[in-house]
Symmetry: C2
Subunit: 425 residues, 2 copies
């Protein structure tokens, strides 16, 4: 972990720069698979699953019995934990349902907005040894609260052609309509075009490796919407003398565990606490399972010593981290100054792990600086806001001169005509 | 206008297909201008303005006096119309401000969301003979209601290096911070990288020709967000026997006037009213100024005769029009069934022109089928929703087993550690 003492403002861009995410080198393979899936549907999916996942599946569809039996393979403990996480995430996301009301602009001019769910949603969940069933909840719950008509999930099969039972149970719990054992570029292509088995969807959500991200970006060319372009996970912690060094050290370590490209940053105006945290990181590291991943990730972690707390939050806003932990005295003062962050954790008992799994907030958050302009997932991400208006003859009469004057100035004569013809008598 | 009688469902994709919007052929010119602007800043902007707009400008910045004097060049009538439109648009968009409340998930586990404005916003307004000052209001008003810190506007200069005074007045009215006389790809590149005069922004909004759209799409590679990819404007009208044929004809004509590539569609289950509308279109067309544009656009317009009103709204949802006019008896029945549309106009005195200019709703709406997954612009489009959480020791104790069980199942041991270390005593 590199310590940077009192970085000058002109050094900030360099210090906060991210790994360059350019997927152009994957263009050819993505394009090839998209063309094949569009042309040959299930047959192409079967071939790519055989090639990439080394399993020859008759059909990508997971049948109902397999989903229902998944629960039997899980411990009572895990079932009950998934159920609790489900309840908390559902409870928080239900609070995001917005109510709409009609606005009387003028007598006879009524305008309003309505949240309408996006009809067909595709969720992608990566495979591998560590099944991200928590992401199934984070994606599936808000989709169902929004009221999406069809929610399908694609995830790669393991070498026996199976899906991890915890993932199946989470999907069943979240009421996901259909599950398909298909991964990678071919999964995104299937949801973009539709195959005999897998439906075409309007919007694709979910994490994935560089192949999946490149495929999601490519799918937007065919009218598919995507949640957001995702990069490596990020955590920035602002800590002062009042924090418990071992708690902050544990948070830095747990962020580093996400992968060797995880972004870890600590900002403080106390050199004393920085040294205590580093010491605690080194001590705790020895006891952890994923030591090698953590060490590689911490290798490019950064510790910034700032002049004061205002400069600390300024750097945080400049970086725009996915996760921001504020572990300081008077944390409300800094919380009020947050401009760019995906999710903010306040106080010493709010570790990132809580938001990753169980407190209720969504863990699908903007990375790579996108927190400057993107939100994490909410129920809104699964809806469109459609505007409506109803105008009476009296209302149109009141608006008429405004509309016709503006239309005339924009040289749109037929627009003027559409008003005049209605009010000619 | 082609009449298609009782189209079969398998014909719908073909009937509702849009012009293919592929901007790959512009890739080289966009890339070249981006590289030049990134390297040479204002010098490159000056050169491209001279080349494309045929004017050699000392600086792209429009000074305060020019903006303040713009009002003097406008008629009282136009000023008052811009002011009225401003008030109505502001009033409707203020109703979109959402309130947030803290949610107690469990005792000691509090989560909430906060709408935080995107800091720096860039607006693009096309030039040409018909200045779209209405778009200045539609973009600038919600940006300022959201509370964006800096809102800048780029628009190409005319041959004297000037900006249309109505556009300048609308920008001043909307409190836009800075205005620059720069258009096309070089404007988007300037707002993507920043130059000596023009600031880098976080998100770019606004309409434009194919060069501008291609440049906006390209700018997303550099971390810039954009409102949405825009295609030609669209209107679908559902009408029955109870509508006034001449009103509907006027609406079809005003939509056709937007440009030769405008998409115009009429859907009805009454052959009688279809014939009356066509007759009225032909009659009114003779009296209009932009006759040539309208005729070219109507050439590819489509009229669909459906079995009944349910099939009519199904086709409308399948097409997902930018604008949807419902001019039928019991229009509430059909309004309730709207799934995919940008903005919906109900009743015989609600022409699209009202929403284009003055009723209060936003006219920046999803085209090209994007209404299936995108909203039109709202105050939300200028904000991010950031989640916050504060957990007490008691709260974390309640969540502990859920978090640790799930983290263990995902093999994330350092996550388990971040909980245990906090609760070890």
């Amino acid at each position: 972990m590199e310590i940077i003492r009192y970085p000058k403002r002109e050094e900030w861009p360099d210090i906060t720069s991210r790994p360059n995410l350019n997927y152009e080198y994957l263009h050819d393979i993505v394009k090839e698979i998209f063309i094949e899936v569009q042309k040959k549907g299930d047959r192409a999916v079967k071939r790519y699953t055989k090639h990439f996942d080394r399993i020859d599946l008759e059909t990508p569809s997971i049948n109902k019995e397999e989903i229902e039996q998944a629960k039997n393979e899980l411990s009572e403990e895990l079932i009950s934990s998934i159920d609790t996480a489900y309840n908390n995430i559902k409870y928080f996301h239900e609070s995001q349902i917005s109510s709409s009301h009609k606005v009387d602009i003028l007598p006879g001019v009524q305008c309003w907005q309505k949240d309408i769910p996006i009809e067909e949603i595709g969720l992608y969940i990566p495979g591998g040894n560590f099944p991200l069933f928590s992401s199934v909840l984070m994606l599936g719950i808000p989709a169902k609260i929004a009221g999406c008509k069809k929610v399908v999930l694609c995830t790669p099969p393991n070498e026996e052609g199976k899906i991890n039972p915890a993932l199946l149970y989470a999907a069943q719990k979240a009421n996901i309509d259909n599950i398909y054992a298909v991964g990678g570029i071919q999964a995104i292509a299937s949801m973009t075009f539709g195959t005999e088995s897998i439906p075409k969807v309007n919007k694709i959500f979910g994490p994935g490796n560089q192949y999946v991200v490149a495929a999601k970006l490519y799918s937007t060319q065919f009218g598919t919407a995507i949640d957001m372009p995702a990069g490596p996970s990020e955590l920035l912690i602002i800590a002062d003398d009042t924090c418990k060094a071992e708690f902050i050290a544990a948070d830095l370590l747990s962020q580093a565990e996400h992968g060797i490209d995880s972004q870890v940053m600590l900002v403080s105006w106390s050199e004393k606490i920085i040294n205590e945290i580093i010491e605690s990181v080194n001590k705790q590291l020895k006891t952890l399972d994923n030591k090698e991943v953590i060490e590689r990730s911490l290798h490019h972690a950064k510790i910034l010593l700032t002049l004061n707390k205002d400069e600390a939050i300024e750097i945080a806003n400049f970086y725009a981290p996915e996760h921001l932990i504020i572990a300081t005295e008077h944390d409300d003062y800094l919380a009020d100054k947050v401009i760019n962050a995906g999710s903010v954790f306040l106080g010493e008992y709010s570790p990132e792990s809580a938001g990753d799994y169980a407190s209720g907030t969504n863990h699908t958050l903007p990375t790579n600086g996108y927190a400057k302009s993107f939100s994490g997932l909410t129920v809104n991400s699964f809806c469109k806001q459609v505007s409506f208006q109803r105008i009476s003859k009296q209302g149109l009469t009141s608006l008429a001169s405004t509309i016709t004057n503006l239309a005339k100035a924009e040289h749109l004569n037929a627009h003027v005509n559409s008003i005049r013809i209605r009010l000619k008598d």
